[in-house]
Symmetry: C2
Subunit: 389 residues, 2 copies
């Protein structure tokens, strides 16, 4: 019997991807249906449904679930869920759709990627969603902006996912579905597995976080965000290469697994940290490393809001627990890696290099200190910056 944490809700995984044998029929049927274009966020959520990461949801949320997720972090049936997963369309499209209809879901290129059976059409109070989920209605917040820009009508109902997009092909050897990471963990005899989420290459501070997770568990899942990122972010293939050389040279064999998943960041800070923990449970992870300002952006959240929110949950909301770690850095006086919780020294002893300064160093071919990033990692990144230079 598996000793891994159970999927969220306690039942089996629920990947909503249609079996290959049924896909052609479904695509043919979709030809005749009203087409609803997906935003990049909605598309990434569809892929999350497809792979089973949003188990036990059957599809996009109806109004009761939307409101529950926003206000109480609970679906109408009581299940813990901290962020609404919704689909929208414009008024014009909505008028052509009746409840009970099937609609075809389209990606940015117009390809059909799924079929939704519309159980409910409804409108939402966007300000409520933004206030509750993002803690702000400021449209400069990238997550808020997407809510404000979405269509006026939400379409709810079960989805049949017909495509995983370019992910399985583009990220071969990295794109692993929850059922697959579970098998990987079981093959390694792991039960206590921490997910380390990253959308960046791993420098020594990230290595330190991952290694704390390894110390107290069986291994770490280095879990890359493969969905749309912020401009200036390093592409996933370069990140993978940089992480590969790090793991090869600095990790004990069999203690780290790399994988990626197709979510698009909402930058909802504490609420998103909860969602990240929730679907990590589906991937089989007992813990999620939650660092400083997890899933944050700008100054919208306090540095440890994403730690504290876990303490407010009712017992049993999540099986997967946070592994809360303070800000992490190299300290000269400690003569090693440390965190705000273990280093008593001052800012002047700590090696901090901002993302902007780091990019500048690469642009100028300055030497990035080995205390900040492993030389093997620097080499991969320098080659990337040279290639786009």
């Amino acid at each position: 019997m598996s000793k891994l944490v159970p999927p969220h809700g306690g039942g089996p995984l629920k990947p909503l991807l249609v079996e290959p044998t049924a896909r052609q029929d479904a695509l043919a049927r979709a030809e005749t249906l009203t087409r609803v274009p997906l935003s990049s966020r909605e598309l990434s959520d569809l892929f999350m449904f497809g792979m089973g990461a949003y188990t036990p949801l059957d599809g996009f949320m109806d109004q009761a679930d939307w409101r529950g997720a926003c206000v109480d972090m609970r679906l109408a049936n009581g299940l813990f869920w901290p962020i609404p997963i919704t689909l929208s369309c414009g008024h014009g499209t909505a008028e052509t759709i009746a409840e009970g209809d099937e609609v075809a879901l389209m990606d940015e290129d117009g390809a059909v990627v799924g079929i939704l059976r519309v159980a409910e059409k409804y409108t939402i109070d966007r300000a409520l969603e933004c206030e509750k989920v993002y803690g702000t209605t400021d449209e400069k917040h990238p997550g808020v902006q997407k809510v404000m820009e979405q269509g006026d009508v939400n379409l709810a109902g079960p989805v049949a996912v017909l495509s995983e997009g370019h992910y399985p092909e583009t990220y071969k050897g990295l794109y692993f579905r929850p059922a697959e990471t579970r098998v990987m963990f079981e093959e390694r005899g792991w039960s206590k597995v921490a997910a380390f989420q990253t959308r960046n290459p791993m420098h020594r501070s990230h290595e330190h976080l991952a290694k704390i997770a390894i110390e107290i568990g069986d291994g770490v899942l280095i879990h890359q965000v493969l969905g749309a990122l912020k401009p200036g972010d390093i592409p996933a293939d370069v990140r993978v290469k940089a992480i590969d050389v790090l793991v090869e040279n600095y990790f004990v064999e069999g203690t780290a697994v790399q994988a990626g998943y197709p979510i698009e960041m909402r930058y909802a800070g504490p609420r998103e940290a909860l969602l990240h923990a929730l679907f990590r449970q589906n991937f089989g992870c007992s813990h999620l490393v939650v660092g400083r300002d997890h899933a944050g952006v700008g100054d919208y959240y306090g540095p440890f809001d994403a730690h504290h929110i876990f303490d407010t949950l009712e017992e049993g909301s999540l099986v997967t627990q946070p592994l809360k770690i303070d800000i992490t850095f190299y300290c000269r006086k400690c003569d090693g890696m440390a965190t705000g919780k273990t280093c008593p020294h001052g800012e002047e002893d700590r090696l901090n290099i901002s993302g902007t300064r780091l990019r500048e160093m690469f642009a100028n071919h300055e030497t990035v200190p080995a205390e900040f990033s492993r030389p093997e990692v620097v080499e991969v990144l320098q080659a990337y910056y040279d290639s786009i230079g």
Copy 2:
């Protein structure tokens, strides 16, 4: 309400030290009683009873509890207890004692330190105890040796403890009873507290262990063994001083508490690791750092036997859990502290200095590398070695 782990057995702490007001009467009564001298191990166990560390025991074990502790790690009433806590005397003395009698317990100087009401006299199969608890009957094992040397008759029954010996005086500011460490933790708002047990000064590897514990909890209890040690061990006052300078210079204020307790090591390896976890629960610790060869001696135990034994326990045996950490060292390639679980490099990259070699370095005033021990700690130890030189 306290969020600390409950005392072992789930009831209140049971310190067996008699109230000061009743002590004079008890001492006067003891004058008339048969006197039973305690071995140094028995005396240290009496002090453990006195401070409440062996909660919920009422005194030295009877035959059923002795056998249960040896064979099943359970008392007759089912309570988990991994090592028998017994008192012995010679045949001659035993013949003068009837079940139901009170006897006076004496320390090495002949001072009365407690009163035992004898509930049972019994003899044991020493080989069984040694085999089950120590995994060997080899009399070169220091724990086995003490069992083999003890008196032929065990005396069981509840004890009234009349003295804590020299500990409260000698270790003022360090000798804290379970009720006191619990208050210290509560004052600091801690609930997840790991005990780091040491009978040595703390070098960087020990600092690393303690800091892993701090990362994942609220704080660490640096818990010194104050009972009799092996010859060549550094005296407790020097250790305290060396640990003080380490904590002052390298720990964040409010993350570490120092305390000491009067146990004498049995060197029973895995079984003793369980006992260490058990009474740490009484002190209010949710975790015990269990390193390589915890409580071991010589080659009697595999390096991780004390890790594995925790996996064999029935659910609910202990609330306090092990924080299992591999061998810890400075690695040149990692450029920092690491463990066998996080460092993939070879022995040649790791800085290991044996106890013997370290003493030699101090004797010769060689420079101890800062990667092995903090300069402030080295200074304290050098002064000590110079003083005994």
